[in-house]
């Protein structure tokens, strides 16, 4: 998805390139997409929460 120059291992203080992710949206009960571009346009803060795998613990 990303050009060589922006990949990878971004650090604090760096700009995040516009990315998109397919999603399951429980509030709509449907699949969707999130786009950083759209979130920035809407003036929103974004909190990304990565985790290993569904159906596991912790």
């Amino acid at each position: 998805m990303f050009k060589e120059e922006v990949c990878c291992n971004l650090g604090v203080g760096q700009q995040v390139p516009d990315f998109e992710l397919d999603t399951y949206d429980p509030s709509k009960g449907n699949f969707g997409k999130v786009s950083l571009k759209k979130l920035k346009k809407a003036g929103k803060w974004t909190i990304l929460f990565f985790y290993p795998a569904d159906f596991t613990f912790v």
């Binding site: 397919d22 974004t46 985790y51 912790v58």
Partner: protein
């Protein structure tokens, strides 16, 4: 509070649907569950583990201008504290509206003492926090 929370794992959106439907503990989860099976976005943030194809437990707070302001990454077996996440987010919100201030280590919420860096503060932080 004006933030879009997005969870991400390398599972597909179909697995997210099945998990949300099955696991009672997720009933209250209403935010988008991102799918990153290729690991592209995870690699961008440095949380993709090539050995397992899974993501480490990383949290990143990004402001509306697209800059990463906070990052926290834990190994698989250690969960993240949500109170701490809330504290950091509230601090970020406060600081975005008060650009000449700093939130000291004990800052917990709006109304707590902040620091206003200036020549007067040099060597006098103790007094400023009383």
């Amino acid at each position: 509070m004006g933030a879009e929370v997005i969870t991400v794992s390398t599972d597909t959106q179909f697995v997210h649907l099945a998990w949300h439907r099955d696991e009672k503990m997720l009933e209250k989860v209403k935010y988008p569950m991102g799918a990153d099976p290729t690991g592209d976005v995870s690699m961008l943030f440095g949380v993709y583990d090539e050995n397992t194809g899974l993501d480490l437990r990383g949290t990143f707070i990004i402001n509306p201008q697209g800059t990463i302001l906070n990052s926290e990454v834990n190994f698989y077996n250690m969960g993240r504290n949500i109170d701490e996440l809330m504290r950091k987010f509230k601090a970020n919100l406060h600081l975005s509206k008060h650009e000449n201030e700093g939130c000291p280590a004990k800052w917990k919420e709006e109304g707590d003492k902040t620091l206003k860096p200036s020549p007067d503060l040099v060597g006098r932080v103790y007094e400023a926090l009383q």
